[in-house]
Symmetry: C2
């Protein structure tokens, strides 16, 4: 359980690791000597649902009591958390409801339904009220995509594995949207590899955490701004309340990367690292490549691999110098 | 050491595993529920040089005595073994010479040189004679890409890991060119998971092993035939002498797959498995997808990830239903 300060503890993360043993893929560190420095990739896209989110969702569901399990869980997500919670709930035999915006990609809606979740489509503006309604009327337990101790502890198992595989790591680079993953990893590193620095990575176009840390308070960016980035996993307007406290306590630095660096990193990860990264998953490698000597022995957490196939094809062709011929003159 | 029959033993494979601990990436089994049956991928493209070849090359180099180490090693390869041996020799501080055909891809030549090997370009017809000359004149030790006990034992560590991670596996699908990988894996499975079937996979256009097993003797296909397949890792005209005896002793079946199935599997592995597979690496998934119920609980060894980026882009666009507009009418 969280400590007196309300923060997740290393014991919570270790307990999550026990629950995830045999459930989550034990992802290796993939050497990336091609990056021009000491870099290893942690390919979380190899998880069944294509992202690290499965770790936190499964752990949060496993923490429910019998009454909560009987009633079921609810969340809102248009992305990887939706599929992760659907999968985690199905794996533990409990009902899951996912509120998705009308504008969600049909493929992601279908994938979430295929995993057994009850998907409810709503206009974006009604997302929170609909979740609240489901909590009160049906007694469903809300599993936040990031601002939840069980979710944070589950994500923290990524850090435990990094510390076990590379105890003398200097820097762990972690993408930040709501902040759940970096909160958990930072707890793990502080205990298991305390000399490691934990560095947050954001797109320049969704740099609300950078601004928040500079000001010393949570700053919200309008979705109109954050939705400009191609890194759809980190378009959230602001980090969570609980994750903000973890970040203040444990995170050493935040760096931002431009959009073209994200796309170039996607191509490099595919062609040199032989891993498919979605744009959000490529953020950390993009940060490393900006200055390969700066971070020392580094691990880039490649948070997910659910890339749009045509986007991946495009970045590969761009990287290969392929130019489409005009359709007509 | 090989047993009285001359075959590699499980003790050889276990010794190789000890040498490779901390050297090769311990690749996970990646669940592939999307394949319509019980399938896991073994992503060997995550190795530093992008293919399983590093395991055998490193083990073979480690088995050399001091005199042999001082003189160095030689091989011929236009593909993944070239980079693997260059890397393995450099890692152990010994000189490596790689004879490559004039027609080898410039990128692969450059990559092999970048790993520190002395690359000698020759016309294809002079490949074997040049290797023989280097053996006799310079005393270099020849490390065959496949027909070498140390290389076979190193590849066998893939099988040990499969047996450890999925002890009740029914079928292990392995691509076959020269036969080194399947020989080692078959030795490992026979000892560590004896109920598992080991199934060889070839392209229809390079089905020399299928014909060999049907006839009960090694059959050679002309390179003019085998070079038709896009799976460039298995264009060898015939399996090796040593690997043939392992295959006869331990391999249960051989299946062949058409070219379009290989390309479709590349796309599926990238979009659903979030892994980059080269065509040869996609062979085994292609075989599984042909009949997902046939093989039971299966592991598809994805042997390598050194895919041409433009080919990968093309298969992704084809799978997404993207059709290029004509340049002119």
């Amino acid at each position: 359980m969280p400590d007196a300060s309300g923060l997740v503890t290393i014991d919570d993360v270790r307990a999550a690791a026990g629950r995830l043993d045999g459930v989550a893929v034990r992802t290796p560190l993939v050497p990336a000597a091609w990056a021009g420095g000491e870099l290893w990739l942690k390919p979380e896209g190899l998880q069944t649902t294509g992202a690290f989110k499965l770790r936190g969702a499964f752990n949060a569901v496993a923490l429910l009591d019998d009454d909560e399990r009987a009633r079921g869980v609810v969340t809102h997500s248009s992305g990887n958390h939706a599929q992760a919670l659907a999968w985690a709930a199905a794996a533990q035999g409990i009902p899951a409801t996912v509120v998705m915006p009308d504008a969600a990609a049909p493929l992601k809606v279908a994938a979430t339904r295929a995993l057994g979740a009850d998907v409810i489509m709503v206009p974006s503006a009604e997302r929170d009220s609909r979740v609240e309604q489901l909590r009160t009327e049906r007694g469903l337990t809300f599993i936040s995509p990031f601002d939840h101790p069980g979710v944070i502890a589950g994500g923290g198992t990524v850090g435990l594995e990094i510390a076990a595989d590379l105890p003398d790591v200097d820097t762990v680079l972690v993408p930040v949207g709501g902040g759940g993953l970096i909160s958990g990893i930072a707890v793990a590193m502080a205990a298991a590899a305390p000399s490691a620095r934990v560095v947050a990575v954001e797109p320049e176009l969704a740099a609300d955490l950078a601004e928040s840390l500079a000001r010393g308070e949570r700053v919200r960016w309008d979705p109109e701004r954050t939705y400009r980035t191609i890194a759809d996993g980190v378009r959230l307007p602001v980090v969570g309340e609980l994750t903000w406290r973890h970040i203040q306590a444990h995170v050493d630095e935040v760096v931002t990367v431009p959009e073209d660096a994200i796309l170039a990193a996607m191509a490099a990860i595919a062609t040199r690292g032989r891993i498919v990264a979605e744009p959000t998953g490529a953020l950390t490698t993009a940060a490393f490549l900006t200055d390969p000597g700066r971070f020392g022995r580094s691990v880039a957490v490649v948070s997910g691999g659910n890339a749009d196939p045509t986007l991946l094809a495009k970045v590969l062709m761009d990287a290969a110098g392929w130019t489409p011929r005009p359709a007509s003159r």
